[in-house]
Symmetry: C2
Subunit: 349 residues, 2 copies
């Protein structure tokens, strides 16, 4: 397994990323055969020296530019030819590596990866699949921000890709796939969801129909399908609300000595909640539907996130999820064609 890490573009500098790489290399001596660090050579060498990391599997690839959060994705991709992000994705495109991890600008990764790797056969648009922890299960939310203007067929493709990811990576044998909507009846919602519902019920996934916001954290659905606008808003709202509730907990439990003592005694329980809701456990969110494995980490990702992102990316490649996605999409396309003969299913060949 050959992994590329774009070490630039994170909020905490490349040292933190390289420390995450060190942990991943230590944790997996067997499958991880090569690791490319792409970015400013001097910064990388300095970070390697300060972390004391030396490993035969490491290769440093210099890139003179960085795609920043402020860059407009498509324009920057064209202009910054030597960005660490482009160079990193290129290694996968050229077949020199199997998967790439970046902490940079999501739109930039999406633009660069779509152009340089191309979508998988049967996929029109890549989607970002974010794994979100609930009290009793973990669900995949996709698209969580790649594609703000979706067509029904895109949602169908997300349903298939999410189902494969949940099964192969999260271990749900028969993942429950739900369409995020404002009510449970088939006729609810807008044109997009109504049409997508009709498509999803024809194909061979465990489609449970529409789900509502209430269902997400109630262990009723394993794959939540929606357009990238809704998914992104939901994802960020959940992060915001969970953070706000933890802030309130801290405020309220430090208001007087009695509560402080209570919080002290219950501290392992309070920590357990933070741990159970911790997005760092997943390290990042994969861009599904591309001819290559691409993992997007949060800009604020720290060592543990990076390590986990490398681990999960390794698993995704090992499980050949791209191959499975292609096969299942092919079957889905055949089903749709059989259900409505003569109707173009608009799945690219």
């Amino acid at each position: 397994m050959r992994i590329v890490v774009d070490v630039m573009g994170g909020d905490h500098g490349c040292g933190v990323v390289i420390e995450g790489v060190r942990r991943a290399l230590d944790a997996d001596k067997k499958n991880l055969t090569a690791l490319f660090l792409v970015g400013n050579q001097e910064e990388i060498q300095a970070a390697l020296r300060s972390t004391g990391l030396r490993d035969e599997r490491l290769q440093v690839v210099h890139a003179s530019e960085v795609m920043t959060m402020e860059d407009k994705p498509t324009a920057a991709f064209r202009k910054k030819k030597d960005s660490s992000m482009s160079r990193a994705i290129e290694l996968v495109g050229d077949g020199k590596a199997d998967a790439v991890i970046s902490l940079g600008n999501t739109g930039g990764i999406l633009a660069a990866a779509t152009v340089m790797l191309r979508p998988l056969p049967g996929v029109e648009r890549a989607g970002i699949a974010t794994v979100i922890p609930g009290p009793d299960n973990q669900f995949v939310l996709l698209d969580s921000g790649a594609n703000s203007e979706c067509k029904p067929i895109h949602l169908l493709q997300y349903a298939v890709m999410g189902s494969v990811y949940s099964r192969e990576i999260l271990g749900y044998k028969k993942p429950r796939v739900g369409l995020l909507n404002v009510g449970t009846e088939e006729t609810k919602g807008n044109e997009l969801t109504q049409e997508a519902f009709k498509l999803c019920k024809e194909i061979d996934i465990n489609f449970i129909g529409n789900v509502e916001g209430y269902d997400l954290f109630a262990n009723r659905v394993d794959v939540v399908v929606c357009d990238g606008f809704v998914g992104n808003v939901v994802l960020k709202t959940c992060e915001g609300l969970a953070g706000a509730m933890i802030t309130m907990l801290k405020q309220e439990l430090s208001r007087n000595p009695k509560r402080k003592l209570g919080a002290y005694l219950a501290q392992n329980g309070l920590r357990a909640i933070k741990r159970r809701m911790d997005p760092e456990a997943y390290g990042g969110a994969p861009l599904l539907g591309l001819n290559g494995s691409v993992m997007k980490c949060h800009g604020s990702a720290k060592e543990r996130s990076i390590m986990n992102a490398i681990r999960i990316t390794t698993e995704a490649v090992q499980h050949q999820i791209n191959q499975t996605i292609c096969e299942e999409l092919k079957r889905a396309t055949a089903r749709l064609a059989a259900a409505k003969p003569g109707t173009p299913t608009s799945v690219a060949a």
Copy 2:
């Protein structure tokens, strides 16, 4: 002030609603001059006897049918001519009452109220304005479920209506109005939000631009504007996540005797969090933009919710928010026309 309460259609039966009415009548002897209870006469009389409620201000209006949660809104509104919901709204339409409160089917209330009361001048679509408590402020989310297929001008109208509501009812002097989006730059999002952004920045509200999910609970915005699909998903997701976090808190804090003791000592703090996040404090969500005051309560609303809904509805009527909405929309329309002479602003006359 004359308030109508549709006592049918709640999850807990009409007794709970009538107990809420009793509390509201006790709490406001001055402004609340008449209260109509609409529904099955026998059930109402039985509930009045069991709660011991007697008040000169009460009037019972019989209705033989109930709009259920399963009813398809528009069809049921046409078919069930004698539903408590229609009869209740009719009293406002006929000028016999000032405001109506219902726990029934949201789509049904919307359909009946739109037909029977008509939108306010300048409003194309009514919107549901839900007040959501954050740690440090309360924000209005609208539309939270009335209008799944919005045009940019609808979002502009929601921005104005939400701004008026936040100022007049919640007391924010210069409410910060934000457009819910996937990024903060003006060019972010889909066609709807990009166009709505251009409209909102022209008019005389405190428009702070795009906001993201992170901002909602961070005291950065007082009025969150979005289409009814996104708003409904966000609202239900927040309810689901907040509930899940409280469930996890209970699980973790009862896992062993030490944590239990801690939770016991900190119990006032834990209760304070539940209280701070309690949606019952607002009683319900108003349908804004109609020629009459309409408040939709949650189907599961209990006594305190009903009481609060009556109080808030009374305030909304006293503050003449509908009149203010009309004036401000008129000004907004003039501004838009001035900004782009010759462009139809598509605000109904």
